[in-house]
Symmetry: C2
Subunit: 170 residues, 2 copies
């Protein structure tokens, strides 16, 4: 039976390699930030499980640093999001999700049943959604597309439920 996993990617990422951790260290320094165990642990946790909530991130980080506080994690998340080392996005009706994949204009598919999130590369060509028809004189910085739907697993479960209902009713 397919289990419902909340805000978890289908292909979970690996543990961050030493090379990646070195890159983070450099990027933190480049932005005038200090390289703390907390920050690296937060980045690692999100790298391991993209589209994580703040809650999930603390839980994950606490395996390594049991005393870290929720508030510290929020501070780190906000700061790293500001310097574009993290991307934050907020699907309707759920807490904010974070990912380490930044700067590539990718979008998100969101299952309204199990709340799973998948990355989706840009639909047509390069960055079509950045050129809307009427733009009211606005200068656009980004265009985030949120695809809402039912994922394959959930669709299967729904189908099974309908079959089950019909069997009992007839």
């Amino acid at each position: 039976m397919a289990t419902i996993q909340q805000t978890q990617t289908a292909r979970p990422r690996q543990e961050a390699t030493e090379a990646i951790r070195r890159a983070w260290t450099q990027e933190l320094r480049a932005h005038g930030r200090r390289v703390t165990r907390q920050r690296l642990a937060v980045l690692s946790a999100i790298h391991r499980a993209p589209h994580s909530t703040a809650d999930a991130i603390v839980a994950s980080v606490r395996e390594e640093l049991p005393t870290i506080t929720m508030q510290s994690v929020y501070v780190v998340l906000a700061d790293l999001t500001n310097i574009d080392m993290l991307r934050k996005f907020e699907p309707p009706g759920t807490p904010a999700l974070y990912e380490t994949r930044t700067g590539d204009n990718h979008h998100h598919a969101f299952c309204i049943r199990c709340l799973r999130v998948e990355d989706v590369d840009c639909a047509v060509g390069e960055a079509p959604c950045l050129i809307p028809s009427e733009h009211h004189g606005m200068t656009f910085i980004s265009a985030d597309v949120l695809y809402r739907g039912i994922c394959a697993d959930c669709q299967q479960e729904i189908d099974r439920e309908i079959v089950a209902q019909n069997t009992t009713l007839s």
Copy 2:
């Protein structure tokens, strides 16, 4: 001097005509809902000022029904959103916004400086964003595009500020 208006459209809509109110009445009945003064007042308020927050909506409705409560408005908003008489959307970092324009797959442009929201019709052709390249077997229901940027007014103010700074510095 251009004033900063929060979550307000450039071309504000008119008061709802009698015809529109009749249509709302019918649609409420069609969905098995009762036609109450509160519901019509909420719809009218949102029709008058699309992209309104719950706060703004209560304020507006209270001009007509001074005793309506925040909670009642929330109940109405949730119910009318469920039956697609309202569309709710949640730009990052601000409370949810509501509009009466539904079922036409339009998108939103959001000024990150003054939080103004504008409607944007679909970018390329009919509904391009509904056909992403990889869809992970998901069945899509909707694709919401959020354009983030700086609106014309804000850009002008920023430019003026830069000019002012340069003048004092040199």
